[in-house]
Amino acid sequence: MSKTKLATLLFVALIGIGILGVLFGSVPLLISEVWAALTGNGQEAHRDIVVNLRLPRILLAGFVGGGLGVAGATFQALLRNPLAEPYILGVSGGASFGAVLVLSTGLAVTSSWTLPLAAFAGALLAIFLVFRIAISTGGAMDVRILLLSGVVIAAFFSACIAFILSISPARTVQSAILWTMGSLAGADWNRVIIAGAYTMPAAAVLISLARPLNLMAIGEETAYYLGANVEGVKRISLVVAALITAASVSVAGVIGFVGLVVPHTLRILVGSDHRGLLPLSFLGGATFLIGADFVARLVLSPIEIPIGVITAFIGVPFFLVLLRQSTVTE
């Protein structure tokens, strides 16, 4: 499939699912009521729902999904591994740790920012630790050591979390588990603005590194010989991708599969040229997550299913089908 064709398709899908997400929700509203709400008329409760709940939620899903998509593609290139995904460097472990710490001390709702900030701080801690370990073995950053240290740090935070939960009351355990399963329900305009202000420039930085990333995906030595600033590109792209992931996790919890399935699927469809793959991963991730959130909100309405469940249920079979197709056509 050609890249432009896919891009148009994705763009249309994005707009489409976005509109659907505003029109439909847990509370059934007529199209006329939604329109009224958007134009400043209509009942106050409807305005509240459409403008303060649904709209920010769609946008947040878009930014988080897009961020995870582009970060996932970047990690796959840097680690030269199609199975890499954004949480591979222990980011989710660190973020969860920060969140659980705050939940267990009851500080969680001193302000609506405490939890996301704690999660972000935890994520930063994980990134810092992983990088320290990988760099400590000499000047150059060895990506295999990076991977290993990511696994180790993730396990460490897992253990810390388990410990805290073992001495916590049931309510804390429940909150912690629900948080880690991911949810966009806390979306409000503040979070949207912060997520957007963070994700868009970061994604732009990564996209500008598309060429060197193409080279890095072949091999660091080859990339060097073809003129890429290997160390510089590695550090910038790893840090930026890790920070996008940290930001996503802190506002939406740990939402899996987006960063793995979306870039990998797109790779099968349009190849590995990152100049196209990265922007498409952003679009694809955004569309996917908005769609998954849509399903999560509506399938068992008024109950909401944790979004991580939906991304797995949709992502895995979809990916398997594509994998099958690609091996068959070869």
Binding site: G25, S26, V27, A45, D48, I49, L53, R54, G106, A108, V109, T110, S112, R171, Q174, S175, L178, W179, S183, A185, G186, R297, L300, S301, P302, I303, E304, P306
Partner: protein, 304 residues
């Protein structure tokens, strides 16, 4: 308020011959209705007890239980109300009342510490019915310790478990008394609330998306007894996370939350928010007290 309170106490006293249903705040302090000496005397005349517990299991005791380990907090409360708290040698971490602190804990109700249980040499263990913890049942069977299961959640189950515990401890008259008094209090409450309009309410346990109580739960039952209508009685599940949109669109007069720090009031503009601690999470023989307390809150009629 005090007068109404007193009036109820007087009426009940006269009606049932109980001399005390003392309401101290949210904790029930159901005093035993019969003097301890009488209780002991009655117990000593009982023998060869055949029990059928909440799971239909038949257990025979030669004499009333003397060393009981209660893995169910509401059973502990019931045993106290029956006047036999001195026979309780073990309880769980979830028993939190002051009067229980002297009794050693054996850990959690669902996965208790078996070493502690064995060391206490019980002659009866009271556990939760249901299969969250099949291990406990089978291990008690292995150790040949008599066990009975109770289901303390709903009103009907509660009456059955009070009677069961009464039989197991040779205090059946007290048990009947307690059941009667609860029924009376609830009837009274019913009369009071029937004169008031129904209050639309919801019990929210916090979280994002917010976790609410649905139909057929203990909480739902209390809310109904208290003259409230649970706006989430159409939920297909006992509990569930609901979209914040639902909180906006359903008119909730009073939002009940256990902990103000877990709940963002902006989710329910226009509703009165009342923090009630874990009152609604500890079912037990104090159900009538709890219902009355909630009723007062819902109808904005509290003792201030």
């Amino acid at each position: 308020m005090q007068r109404q309170h007193l009036a109820i106490a007087v009426i009940l006293t006269l009606a049932t011959g109980c001399d005390n249903v003392v309401w101290e705040g949210l904790e029930l302090r159901l005093q035993p209705p019969i003097s301890p000496a009488t209780v002991e005397r009655n117990r000593s005349t009982v023998s060869n007890i055949i029990l059928v517990d909440a799971t239909g299991l038949e257990v025979t005791l030669q004499e009333p239980a003397q060393r009981i380990i209660s893995l169910v907090p509401s059973a502990t409360q019931t045993l106290r109300a029956l006047g036999v708290i001195h026979t309780v040698v073990g309880r769980t971490d979830f028993d939190i009342e002051n009067w229980v602190l002297d009794i050693p804990s054996v850990g959690g109700g669902l996965e208790p510490n078996f070493e502690d249980i064995i060391a206490l040499e019980p002659d009866l263990v009271v556990r939760f019915a249901g299969d969250q913890d099949p291990q406990t049942k089978s291990r008690l069977d292995e150790l040949e310790i008599p066990q009975i299961a109770v289901r303390p959640d709903r009103l009907t189950d509660l009456y059955a478990s009070v009677r069961l515990l009464g039989k197991a401890t040779g205090t059946e008259p007290s048990a009947d008394s307690i059941v009667a008094s609860i029924k009376n209090e609830l009837a009274d409450l019913q009369r009071w609330t029937s004169e008031k309009p129904k209050v639309h309410t919801a019990y929210i346990l916090g979280g994002s998306p917010p976790w609410v109580a649905g139909p057929n739960s203990y909480i739902d039952e209390i809310l109904a007894l208290a003259g409230g209508r649970n706006v989430f009685s159409d939920l297909g599940f006992l509990y569930g996370s609901v979209s914040p949109e639902q909180l906006r669109v359903r008119k909730i007069d009073v939002v009940l939350i256990s902990d103000r720090s877990q709940f963002d009031p902006r989710l329910t503009p226009g509703s009165r928010i009342e923090e009630i601690g874990n009152t609604l999470e500890l079912p037990g023989p104090n159900i009538a007290e709890t219902a009355r307390h909630i009723a007062r809150i819902l109808h904005d009629d509290r003792v201030r």
